[in-house]
């Protein structure tokens, strides 16, 4: 990495060349509402799984966008499909459908 005279924290570094950007594309095709997310966090504040773990739809969304497909697939399993996020979301994102898509991808690796 180029030396800028400062560096980010090691555990926050993402190497874009190594990450999976096809997954983001694939999800956005499966459910076009995915790209509407503004990361407002409403879903995270209501998430049933979120009161016990770090998981929330917002986290999932972030992981997918950054190309952390592996992590997204692993984390998505924590969702209870309870439906709070889809009702709370101000952008009308079909969250549960997207979560199911991520789960399907985790089970069948369509890419």
């Amino acid at each position: 990495m180029k030396d800028f005279g400062f560096s980010p924290m090691k555990n926050k570094v993402l190497n874009f060349d190594e990450l999976n950007h096809d997954f983001h594309q694939w999800i956005a095709i499966q459910d076009s509402s995915f790209n509407l997310c503004i990361a407002c966090g409403t879903c995270a504040s209501t998430c049933s799984a979120g009161s016990y773990t770090h998981f929330s739809f917002r986290e999932l969304c972030k992981d997918i966008r950054w190309g952390n497909a592996e992590k997204a697939m692993k984390e998505s399993e924590k969702c209870m499909l309870c439906g709070k996020c889809s009702i709370a979301c101000p952008r009308n994102i079909n969250t549960r459908n997207i979560i199911k898509m991520v789960r399907k991808a985790a089970k069948t690796s369509p890419l």
């Binding site: 509402s33 209501t46 049933s48 799984a49 009161s51 016990y52 773990t53 399993e77 924590k78 969702c79 209870m80 499909l81 309870c82 439906g83 709070k84 889809s86 009702i87 709370a88 009308n92 079909n94 549960r96 459908n97 199911k100 789960r103 399907k104 985790a106 089970k107």
Partner: protein
């Protein structure tokens, strides 16, 4: 003469039909589970068989359930089924009488007027037989014209949409439509040439066909009649008309106690084949009103199940609102079949929720209140319910106050069995840890899941039932302020749990209930579109279903829309209608006559607890 080559298409068709259906029946019955076979053996010689025969007569022939829904439609189905049955029955009696009891080949009664022109051996009976045969032919033809009108202008009969049929159904349908006019033609020619007719056939023969009647045309008409019958019989097992034999089998098995299981079984095959694609479920389905055309409705879903595999869209766009099942005259357990069909992919595992820890020292109380996920989205409902509990001195504990754990129903409805069962276990521990004697939930989804799938050993109530109980036992009193209230039945509460009267009874204490055909207090209530059983519909589609539902139940006199489900409340509130949507608990709290001031800390004290008495009904449930 007792034979002519023109009977061959009919005879071949009939033989094929009988052999084919028997093979299929034997296969289906053979593949039933051992348990189901036992039920079959045990019940075969019991009153259930008589009950089944009666039901076959009432439903398969008279189509009573369709009559109740729509008189025209009922008459159409009845005239075709019952009329045809009577033609066969009387025709057989007629030919038997004619040949003095001798057994005739199967085609003989059908083509009786071709083989016998001299009806003298029937003596006096000739006129009776002739009259009734013509009468039922007329009935069938009337039914047929209604069927024709239904295809061309369904609205005349009060039906918005008819089923879009596939090619094999069209062939079968066309041949069926030809059978009876051709019979009239053939018998008309017989009447014209040989004077064998009664009122209808003679009229046909003397007034219409007399000019052109000739032996050649006469023979051709009989050929055509036989061919139409033959085509119908051969296409029957592969088309929607397979429902005719299958429905009979279904009725018997159902009377013997056979049901849908947790997975598809041979019985599912029978149910799927018993669907007549009558299309009654299409009008009932809220998806039908969406502008996007889709084939989600059960008529299409079951058709795909029968020939192939439902598409993802057909499988997942359904709201599981059960309106189709309620409307279906055949009584197919559509929702169970749909839920089972979704079980193919297990996307979540039972270990998925290992991060959840069962609560250890839960607060104790006599009544456990469970708000559920949707409840947590509507804090107003929780507050109102708990305020009513406090006012009535109920010793309660709010068990999922700290973060909700889903009851598991959404997972189950999406086919995620393993994961759903693990959530059930966690909540079951939570409930039983509280030491409660009664479980109350303000969410119909959770309530239904608790009642049907949790084995808790304590009675479970929906909050509308419990508040009503508190009112009946004079723990709460309300002031009727004549607010005009329209009540929206949640699907899970009305069709799911048959809790229809209790919320109404309660609301009548607070205001005036306004009725519309769509909230008539029966099981046909509309769906709000919010259903958690669906992950596929977009927010806009859901909103448009909510709008339709609101327009269905609203009248301009109404001040408030009441519902008894936090999810319905949320979904209906999304629409653009300018009306307040409140939960039943909120309305009751408004109307509550405040009790004398009770200091906060006495509410849960044991002294108050002893005051808690229930009506005999609830007491009997508790002691059970």
């Amino acid at each position: 003469m007792r034979y002519h080559p023109f009977v061959l298409p009919f005879s071949f068709g009939l033989a094929f039909l009988l052999i084919y259906t028997s093979i299929i029946w034997i296969r289906w019955i053979n593949r039933l589970s051992e348990n189901d076979k036992q039920l079959l053996r045990k019940n075969l010689f019991s009153f259930n068989t008589l009950a089944a025969i009666r039901e076959v007569f009432m439903e398969s022939l008279m189509h009573r359930k369709i009559f109740r829904k729509n008189v025209f439609l009922g008459f159409m189905h009845m005239s075709l089924a019952f009329g045809w049955f009577m033609l066969i029955l009387i025709g057989n009696l007629e030919s038997r009488t004619y040949t003095a009891g001798r057994i005739n080949p199967p085609y003989f009664p059908i083509f009786f007027k071709f083989f016998r022109h001299d009806l003298a051996p029937l003596k006096k009976l000739e006129a009776y037989f002739g009259f009734w045969m013509d009468f039922f032919l007329l009935i069938v033809l009337l039914g047929l014209s209604l069927a024709f009108i239904k295809r061309a202008h369904s609205k005349v009969l009060g039906i918005k949409r008819t089923t879009k049929h596939i090619i094999i159904d069209k062939i079968a349908l066309t041949s069926l439509w030809f059978i009876f006019p051709l019979r009239l033609l053939a018998e008309g020619f017989s009447a014209a040439l040989y004077k064998t007719g009664n009122f209808l056939t003679s009229f046909m023969g003397d007034e219409i066909l007399s000019g052109i009647a000739s032996p050649t045309l006469y023979l051709q008409a009989w050929w055509a009649y036989s061919i139409a019958l033959g085509i119908f019989f051969i296409t029957l097992p592969f088309s929607r008309y397979m429902h005719i034999p299958t429905e009979i089998l279904l009725i018997f098995l159902r009377r013997y106690g056979v049901k849908e299981k947790e997975q598809h079984s041979s019985f599912t095959k029978i149910e799927i084949n018993a669907c007549s694609r009558c299309g009654i479920c299409i009008d009932a389905c809220p998806i039908t009103a969406l502008p996007e055309s889709s084939e989600t409705q059960s008529a299409y879903f079951l058709r795909e199940m029968r020939y192939d595999k439902p598409t993802n869209n057909q499988n997942e766009s359904c709201l599981l609102c059960m309106r189709c099942e309620e409307a279906c005259p055949v009584g197919i357990e559509i929702t169970r079949i749909r839920e089972n069909e979704r079980k193919e992919y297990q996307l979540f595992a039972s270990e998925s929720y290992n991060y959840l820890t069962s609560p250890k020292n839960a607060a104790k109380g006599k009544v456990a209140f469970f708000a559920g996920c949707m409840g947590h989205l509507t804090p107003g409902v929780i507050k109102a319910t708990l305020a009513l509990f406090k006012a009535a001195n109920v010793n309660y504990t709010f068990i999922d106050e700290e973060g909700s754990i889903c009851c598991g129903r959404p997972l189950m409805q999406n086919g995620q069995t393993d994961a759903g069962i693990s959530l059930r276990q966690i909540n079951k521990d939570l409930i039983l840890n509280s030491g409660a004697e009664i479980l109350v939930s303000s969410c119909p989804i959770c309530t239904r899941e608790f009642i049907e799938h949790y084995v808790l050993g304590i009675p479970v109530f929906h909050h509308s039932q419990y508040i009503l109980e508190l009112a009946m036992s004079k723990k709460l009193s309300f002031r009727n302020n004549s607010t005009k209230i329209v009540y929206h039945d949640p699907c899970e509460l009305s069709r799911g749990l048959n809790i229809i009267e209790e919320p109404r009874q309660l609301l009548r204490l607070a205001g005036e209930l306004i009725h519309s055909p769509e909230n008539s207090g029966k099981q046909q209530s509309l769906c709000c579109g919010g259903s958690l059983g669906n992950t596929n519909l977009s927010a806009n589609q859901r909103k448009s279903i909510a709008e339709n539902t609101l327009s269905g139940i609203l009248s301009d006199k109404a001040d408030i829309v009441a519902t008894a489900c936090p999810l319905c409340k949320k979904s209906l509130a999304c629409s653009n209608k300018n009306i307040e949507i409140l939960d039943i608990a909120q309305i009751m709290l408004e109307a509550l006559i405040a009790p004398k001031f009770i200091p906060e800390n006495t509410v849960e004290s044991t002294k108050m607890e002893s005051n808690l008495t229930y009506s005999p009904e609830i007491n009997s449930i508790i002691s059970e």
